[in-house]
């Protein structure tokens, strides 16, 4: 593979990263100032469920667990806006981690050097 082709692959990887992030637009985040203990609990539970689904496919991302720990700590202090934001970020990452595993299961063989 030439340098140009290698650079193209890296560019495609970066574009895919952007594409994976594009799905964030289809789930509205909790507006700032409107979070509560209940909205946090719902976001936290949804994130934990999504995290477990990513873990089923052995494809958790690095920051999901730390985000949830930080979210929990903020919620204990009553900072529900901040806590809910972090929980929603963890949910976003967990959903995309599972989607990545599903996509890669179908695609990885196409990357193998022939």
């Amino acid at each position: 593979m030439t340098f140009t082709a290698a650079a193209r692959s890296l560019l495609l990887a970066a574009l895919l990263l952007v594409a994976l992030g594009a799905g964030a637009a289809d789930r509205p985040a909790t507006p700032w100032g409107e979070a509560s203990a209940e909205t946090f609990a719902a976001a936290y539970q949804a994130a934990q469920t999504a995290r477990a689904r990513a873990a089923e496919l052995a494809n958790e991302w690095r920051d999901i667990a730390p985000l949830l720990r930080d979210a929990e700590a903020l919620a204990r202090q009553g900072q529900y806006d901040e806590a809910t934001a972090l929980a929603e970020q963890a949910l976003f990452q967990a959903e995309r981690a599972r989607a990545q595993a599903v996509e890669q299961a179908a695609r990885w063989r196409s990357y193998v050097v022939q």
Binding site: L10, A13, L16, R62, Q104, A105, R109, Y111, V112
Partner: protein, 270 residues
């Protein structure tokens, strides 16, 4: 479960380990036509003349020497029952690195050299070392050092479980992971020889030959699985436990891809 997700996608015909190895060698021969295949045992230093010169200077007073010496002492020290590590390995544990990892047909899984060291300990009533321990890395370093010049010859026996382990390692190598969506192959096949910040990305061909490795940024010697975990974190994936089945299978695949190259561990890297 992952294979069950290949819904409606007929995979290309499966290539075996020998075909994979030849394809990888051919790929790097095309990428780096002036570099002999044997030189790939030196990793990035085969591709970068300046780095190679610096590395050769470091090898005059190698930073892994202390670990090798400590490993030699540990290796020679009898267990409480009077037996020694030499009793657990072929050839007394000298010059055996090139046959690891191997597929243990009785256990039905891949066994790494570090696993074999700990199995030796526990079989003689000793407590196993933690997978990240300095003692385990030192023992591995000593055994690698005694194996320098031996040619890697890791077999994939005619057993569906062995082939499944190999294929699992291959899948991990080529699958993108983490928030940054990189696979091992992205850096060590497609981008091998290019720069990642100030460092030259090493080629996959020959990658395990110099492990365990003294990394300057660690300030100590560490195992291949420690490097795997670090890479996972760097692409923002959650790492697997050291010496897990996942990493053992990955090491199995990577070592088969380095068959025919010599052991040159332990190594020194940035």
């Amino acid at each position: 479960m992952l294979s069950a997700l290949l819904l409606g996608h007929a995979p290309p015909a499966l290539a075996g380990p020998e075909q994979d190895l030849q394809a990888l060698r051919d790929y790097f021969a095309r990428r780096f036509p002036d570099i002999d295949v044997a030189a790939f045992a030196d990793g990035a230093y085969a591709l970068d003349a300046d780095a190679r010169a610096q590395w050769q200077a470091v090898e005059d007073f190698p930073p892994y020497e202390l670990a090798v010496s400590e490993g030699e002492t540990l290796f020679a020290t009898p267990f409480a029952n009077g037996r020694r590590y030499a009793d657990c390995f072929a050839n007394g544990g000298i010059a055996v690195r090139q046959n690891h990892p191997y597929f243990d047909l009785e256990a039905g899984r891949v066994k790494t050299l570090e696993m074999a060291i700990n199995a030796c300990r526990t079989s003689h009533g000793e407590v196993a070392y933690a997978w990240s321990s300095a003692e385990l890395a030192a023992l591995s370093a000593y055994m690698a050092y005694t194996s320098r010049g031996q040619v890697f010859d890791v077999q994939v026996p005619d057993d569906p479980r062995a082939l499944a382990a190999y294929e699992d390692g291959k899948r991990q190598f080529y699958s993108k992971r983490g928030q940054l969506n990189f696979s091992c192959a992205n850096c060590h096949v497609q981008a091998a020889g290019l720069k990642l910040r100030a460092e030259t990305l090493s080629p996959a061909l020959g990658q395990p030959t110099h492990f365990p490795v003294y990394r300057t940024q660690w300030g100590e010697i560490g195992t291949l699985h420690r490097r795997y975990a670090e890479c996972y974190v760097q692409v923002r994936a959650r790492p697997h436990p050291l010496q897990s089945e996942a990493y053992a299978n990955l090491e199995y695949f990577q070592t088969v891809m380095s068959n025919g190259l010599v052991v040159n561990g332990p190594g020194a890297r940035p």
